[in-house]
């Protein structure tokens, strides 16, 4: 601790704090126990006058580090906003007077609570520094777009139009991707009645005319290293040459591969050339060039065309796609219109026709009006006959098995994302090898997922593997409904059908959004600011090399693959990849990782300064480490809505349960706490942890505490982890109060002094 830190504590007596609490006693605690140089009380700290009081002390140099003992850190943030000043807040309003009953009986325990929170804030501030940020020096603002299909081209154009340079790397010899093979596209403009020109030529022309865009064809990424603002990428070409380039962020628009219809022999695939997929039909329309559509077998005119929806999709059958590809209903309508126009009659067999929105429904109606027959039925078989094909199906309306004759059958098969290597499978296999046991329980979602032979797309030199982690069914999507672009690799944004199945319009919109995220990543890196969800955070982790045992836990557990290893297995932090959750800090067994304003000390000192009553007082103490994203707001709202909970708990917010270092738990037990509760977000398949794995890792780590408890002869109930949600405003107080009954049952800790 350097001497230039000057501490000031400001104790608010507004909002009933003055009436419910003894502020003089708090002042004494702050100066005596908290060793604050300046301690001031104010009747209304968040109003202009109260804030000015603090500002004056800061301006005069009398105070450099501020403790605010008032409302929750989530309240009145606009009033208590002091630039470049370290600040700790003691939550006396929501956390004390609002969560405790009023009245003489509760007065003593309420006051003890408040005094402890003042002590804790004073302890915390001593170990806090103002984060200085770690801006990327010489930030590259150039954006790399991988993939030259519609998504990639759109991302590139939109990025360039915002004033940024872009390079497109496309593995084939031309731009355009799948869309280049299309005759038309689903309409994107009102009144959504007719197929529109695909627009691909215009897109390519726009790319060629845009001075900010450079295109590399027949090229792929052979190596990607670095971090947002400073990605070092090797671009290899077919001829074998490579070029090293620096980029600020990456948009991954690698699209999809058509599902292989050879998996569908029951639908006639491979048995007759007159059974085609949507891409095959597109080629026939193109070949017809406005004339009649000809059957591939013998060139006769296709008079009856049947479209089979959901072919090999929405099915749990092995080899099928478990999902809906989203665009195929609209695509079949568009293709059926072409068939009708060419003089054929078109029938669409579907189980649920999915034409969402205003555009979708208008186009569906247009299809009906131009004479396309829509029939609700599930196709069981397509049988090649002598002259034509027999489509056997269950007519769901008439509830009967029936059949149709067709000259041409179009199977609406789906999209398989080009998401590269599934790094989670690799990691699981490695674990399996390392542990010599099946990794089974983790469930890497491989079952029933159609995989195509893959090569890595990004060839990331990251410690955790060469590509972006995948979500369900192989899509490189974000797991978050509210935050669709939160990939688990900062500065790399999958977009278009590699992210989720989608049609062209969706892909273009998605690609525009991804372009924004890429630009944002670059601008954030240049200032040293964290990306979502701690957007703008300037703190970043650093480690003390001399203490490090090279155990690699931090590099393995980082949910964002932000930490690499050097040759000696020391961690190499990449702050612009880091999301500041502190999972590395929680993982570290020797506690050498810390942030300027969040560390083993900022929390550890708080829990140690709490006054632990001796065993004769019969006042237990329970430490709650609460996730600041969900559990802590729920606790605040419990106070706001008058839910009361035990006065014996002391709550410390943490960035994520993943940041909880076991030393806090053992320190608490050794200091005489009677129990420790961890409250974090839901884990598992539908996890709600904002840092992906934090909650799960905390559960895992705590499960290992049981051993320690046994050796200390402590009951396993002394340390519990709960999954809670931000809506558990009534449930969390119940959890707390139930836990106090448990403590009563098992008795106070034997470790009181």
């Amino acid at each position: 601790m350097s001497d230039d830190k000057k501490y000031g504590a400001y104790i608010c007596t507004g909002c009933g704090l003055g009436e419910r609490l003894d502020s003089t006693a708090q002042t004494n605690v702050a100066s005596r126990d908290g060793k604050m140089g300046v301690v001031r009380e104010h009747g209304f700290l968040c109003n202009a006058e109260g804030v000015q009081l603090i500002r004056d002390d800061l301006a005069s140099g009398e105070v450099s580090h501020v403790v605010i003992a008032a409302c929750s850190r989530r309240a009145k943030t606009e009033a208590f906003a002091f630039d470049d000043v370290a600040m700790a807040r003691a939550n006396l309003r929501e956390g004390v007077i609002w969560s405790q009953p009023d009245g003489d009986e509760a007065r003593e325990t309420t006051q003890e609570m408040a005094e402890d929170y003042v002590r804790m804030a004073c302890a915390e501030i001593k170990f806090m520094a103002t984060p200085q940020g770690d801006p990327v020096s010489d930030t590259s603002r150039r954006i790399l777009v991988v993939g030259g299909g519609v998504s990639g081209m759109t991302s590139a154009l939109e990025t360039a139009r915002a004033g940024y340079d872009v390079t497109i790397v496309e593995k084939s010899a031309t731009l355009g991707g799948h869309a280049a093979t299309l005759q038309t596209r689903i309409p994107q403009q009102a009144p959504y009645r007719e197929p529109e020109p695909s627009g691909v030529d215009e897109l390519i022309a726009a790319i060629e005319a845009e001075a900010r865009i450079e295109v590399r064809l027949n090229a792929a990424l052979t190596s990607t290293d670095g971090a947002p603002g400073r990605f070092e990428v090797e671009i290899g070409t077919e001829s074998g040459s490579t070029a090293s380039e620096r980029f600020g962020a990456i948009v991954m628009a690698t699209g999809y591969t058509d599902y292989d219809m050879a998996n569908l022999p029951e639908l006639g695939a491979g048995k007759s050339p007159d059974v085609v997929d949507q891409a095959g039909f597109e080629a026939l329309v193109k070949a017809a060039d406005g004339g009649p559509i000809q059957c591939p077998t013998n060139g006769r005119e296709a008079k009856h065309v049947v479209f089979v929806q959901c072919a090999g999709q929405r099915s749990d059958q092995e080899g099928h796609l478990p999902y809906c590809s989203g665009h195929c209903c609209l695509t079949s309508i568009r293709q059926a219109m072409h068939a009708q126009e060419a003089g054929a009659s078109a029938t669409v067999l579907f189980s649920d026709l999915r034409t969402p929105g205003a555009a979708g429904e208008d186009f569906y109606r247009a299809g009906q009006e131009c004479g396309v027959t829509f029939c609700k039925g599930t196709v069981s078989e397509v049988l090649p006959g002598d002259d034509d094909l027999e489509v056997r199906y269950n007519d769901l309306i008439l509830d009967e098995q029936t059949s149709l004759r067709a000259d041409l059958v179009v199977l609406a098969t789906g999209m398989v994302p080009n998401s590269g290597v599934d790094i989670d499978t690799i990691a699981a296999e490695e674990n399996e090898e390392a542990d010599g046991v099946a990794a089974g329980a983790e469930g890497t979602a491989q079952e029933n997922t159609v995989t195509i032979p893959v090569e890595s797309i990004l060839n990331l030199k990251y410690r955790q593997g060469p590509d972006v982690p995948q979500l369900k069914h192989g899509f490189a999507d974000s797991h978050f409904i509210c935050f669709p672009y939160e990939s688990r690799r900062t500065g790399i944004y999958p977009t278009g059908p590699v992210r989720r199945p989608m049609d062209m319009q969706q892909a273009q919109e998605d690609a525009t959004g991804a372009a924004l995220k890429a630009i944002q990543a670059v601008e954030g890196a240049a200032l040293g600011r964290a990306a979502h969800p701690r957007s703008g955070d300037l703190s970043f982790p650093s480690f003390r090399k001399e203490g490090c045992t090279q155990c690699k836990r931090c590099t393995v557990e980082c949910p964002f693959g932000a930490i690499d290893e050097d040759e000696q297995s020391y961690p190499l932090f990449n702050s612009s990849r880091c999301r500041r959750c502190g999972t590395c800090m929680g993982a570290c067994p020797v506690r050498v990782i810390s942030f300027e304003n969040y560390s083993v000390e900022t929390v550890g000192q708080q829990l140690k300064i709490v006054e632990i009553p001796d065993e004769f007082e019969e006042k237990p103490r329970v430490l709650i480490l609460a996730c600041e994203n969900d559990a802590y707001p729920a606790l605040d709202m419990a106070g706001m809505t008058g839910q009361h909970y035990s006065p014996y708990v002391r709550i410390i917010p943490v960035r994520c349960l993943g940041s909880v270092n076991l030393i806090w738990v053992t320190d608490a037990l050794n200091n005489g706490y009677d129990g420790v509760l961890l409250m974090g977000c839901k884990k598992g398949d539908n996890y709600q942890c904002h840092f992906v794995k934090g909650s799960e890792l905390a559960h895992e780590r705590i499960s290992k505490v049981d051993e320690t408890l046994k050796t200390l002869s402590l009951e396993p109930e002394r340390v519990l982890t709960h999954e809670v949600a931000i809506t558990d405003i009534q449930r969390i107080p119940e959890i707390i109060n139930d836990y106090m009954k448990t403590i009563e049952k098992i008795g106070l800790s034997p470790f009181k002094f």
Binding site: F44, C46, A190, G357, A358, Q520, N686, H690, I726
Partner: protein, 428 residues
């Protein structure tokens, strides 16, 4: 007088729901100056009225908390609540905008202590609960409302309650003399993200919403699940407050229908599937759900959610557009009449709670936007016009897609202000 600093390099976002919040935050986090204008007293919008999101069954306020933290931390973003844009003149890069600010009668001294709410007596229908419950005349719209400041209902002004509220406030936050004002500002780009409103179920005459007590909309059903909502979190029959036994969900209520909304609102199938999980969560095997549908649109990779619900033995699917509903006046039980198109059977099925899956219509139809927008015949605002439509103002979208769409809109706005910046630096 409210002072708003803005230039033609400022981005104006109209609407503080999840789309508007997202567009504003994403642009601000790119370093742009943003003004967010919200008509209501707090940000968060329609999603704050929902219990859970499909398909993860997670809670909307979880994402809101993150967005609020982003908002609080970002100095580039200025939020005006109870503010309505009344005029937008000019062109991209150079707009003049008029914003009408309604009086909140509570200034920023407010600490949200709640003393004013305790002091006043008058209660009004709670719009947050679609009038299913009452709220005080001085109120915080919901637990996570931000700005965390109370509101005085304008109907209180001039009544003794207003004086009681003022007297109760120790923070000197209540200003009964606050009046409506209009501020004018210059901005470079405008994102129109005014969202959606539920289609008026009363217009679907044969379904009896408003006449039959036990016919509710899907949004009203959502409000029942809020522990702080009108039924304390319980699914009940409004007629007697008791648990239902046999719930019907009617899909496309007023959607995909030439007499009502022609479009498909995209979300309602998933919303009803999701709501059957609420029923299971609350009643286990004791209550059945029946979904009357035309097509189940569980689009793209969330189709497995549909299959999971299909596997629930307590959920039945009937392919039918329900013709009409009749009510037994004594028991308030309901009979749904129609034809099951799978096999063509006529039915008259009894249910004791009916949930109408009503669709979305734009809150502000394109024709009523006070500025240069491109609209379609359904009233949606084009995403790529002079003013950028975003979220459900531009198309019926689920949350995930609305956020995606709003992020794209933010970039379109940035392109405009970056162009302005480039031109101005050239001119200097």
């Amino acid at each position: 007088m409210t002072d708003v600093v803005a230039t033609n390099q400022t981005i104006l976002v109209v609407g503080g729901g999840i789309s508007g919040l997202t567009a504003a935050l994403e642009a601000a986090e790119c370093g742009k100056q943003v003004i967010l204008v919200e008509k209501g007293p707090s940000v968060g919008g329609r999603v704050t009225q929902l219990y859970k999101y499909f398909p993860k069954l997670c809670f909307p306020t979880c994402g809101l908390e993150i967005n609020l933290r982003r908002l609080k931390a970002n100095r580039n973003l200025r939020v005006l609540t109870m503010a309505e844009v009344t005029a937008i003149d000019g062109e991209a890069g150079d707009y003049r905008v008029a914003v009408k600010l309604a009086p909140r009668h509570v200034n920023d001294n407010c600490t949200a202590c709640g003393d004013c709410a305790d002091a006043v007596e008058a209660e009004f229908d709670n719009e947050f609960d679609f009038g299913m419950g009452q709220r005080k005349g001085a109120y915080l719209p919901f637990n996570m409302a931000w700005p965390q400041r109370y509101v005085l209902d304008p109907r209180l002004i001039g009544t003794p309650d207003a004086d009681k509220a003022k007297a109760a406030c120790k923070a000197d936050a209540i200003d009964l003399d606050m009046v409506e004002e209009t501020v004018e500002m210059k901005v470079g780009a405008v994102i129109w993200a005014t969202g959606w409103k539920p289609y008026d179920a009363g217009k679907i005459q044969p379904y009896g919403h408003g006449r039959f007590t036990n016919v509710v909309t899907n949004m009203e059903f959502e409000r029942m699940l809020d522990p702080f909502g009108p039924t304390d979190g319980k699914i009940v029959r409004p007629s007697d407050g008791k648990a239902p036994t046999n719930i019907a969900f009617i899909q496309c209520a007023g959607s995909r229908d030439r007499n009502h909304l022609e479009h498909c609102s995209r979300i309602c199938c998933m919303a009803s599937l999701k709501q059957t999980t609420y029923v299971r969560e609350q009643f286990a095997d004791d209550v059945t759900s029946t979904i009357y549908y035309i097509d189940i649109r569980a689009i793209d990779r969330i189709d497995d959610f549909y299959r999971d619900v299909q596997a629930d033995p307590n959920v039945k699917f009937i392919k039918s557009k329900v013709a009409n509903i009749t009510e037994d006046r004594d028991s308030h039980g309901l009979l749904l009449h129609g034809v099951d198109t799978e096999g063509y059977h006529r039915y008259s099925n009894p249910h004791d709670l009916v949930v109408l899956a009503t669709g979305m219509e734009p809150s502000v139809p394109a024709g009523q936007v006070p500025g240069p927008v491109t609209g379609d015949e359904h009233g949606f605002v084009a995403a790529d016009g002079a003013i950028f439509g975003a979220g459900c103002a531009s198309e019926a979208l689920d949350v995930n897609r609305a956020v995606q769409n709003a992020t794209a809109a933010a970039l379109r706005a940035i392109q405009v202000v970056n162009r302005v910046a480039a031109t101005e630096s050239r001119d200097v």
